[in-house]
Amino acid sequence: MTLMTGEDRLSETFAALASSTRRAILARLAEGEANVNELAEPFDMTLPAISKHIKVLERAGLIVRGQRAQYRPCTLEPAPLEEISAWAEQYRPVWEARFDRMDDYLTQLRSQRKTGEHDD
């Protein structure tokens, strides 16, 4: 596996997750390891097509494949999903601050209108 910076890897994770088939494969692997035949079962797709999806997930570091020649089970690798979580969490304080201001602004509007329905 090649080394990527955190940021490159994050883009690759997002790209890998952009397919409903690949998300379904991850969901199946969240229940336990499986080989390509098992992963292909629920889909109306050829084995090579499924293999292609598995390669994308493997390149993104979302799954790891065993080395046994005949039966190479795929297992889920949760670390990249955790990196996505870290990305999303950067937004949290920005939005929290915005909603504090929305709250203040609403209070301001209310006092301007003097609705008399204050129940703080």
Binding site: E7, A18, L81, E89
Partner: protein
Amino acid sequence: MTDGNASRDAAVIERSFDAPPDLIWRMWTEPEHFKAWYGPDGAAVPVAKMDVRVGGSRLVCLEMDTPGGPAQMWFTGEYREVVENERLVYTESVSDENGNVLPPSDMGLPSGHPATTEVTVELQDLGGRTRMVLTHAGIPAGSPGAAGWAMALAKLADRIEAQGAR
């Protein structure tokens, strides 16, 4: 994270406001109100164009004071779902002042920052008060149905947690 159902792919924030849903809806959809709260601290929102209907576009400018003078950042996007007083979904990308999408790195955002993100606002009437759930998800450029994958991934994350992976 402390939220029991926090998903891993999106920032999900829940707040209650002492105002009815129709007023909160106007906070999001009327430029005059939107400008009053949206800018981060120390920033102004000089422009907020909003064509609030499915497929309609939006263009928002944030202006920050920097030592070198005011710096502007523009964001464009499209409304994906518009259910008045209940649900608003729009996309957001860094752009120029004409709404042409720029790579996020042009604005000093990390290169791994998704080119398009999706914001979902859900409002629930609590009898004069409003519960608001905001979901800000990263979606790969050109990928339809980000909300779908956000939900799918939230489920996936729950399963991973349930089985105590790693």
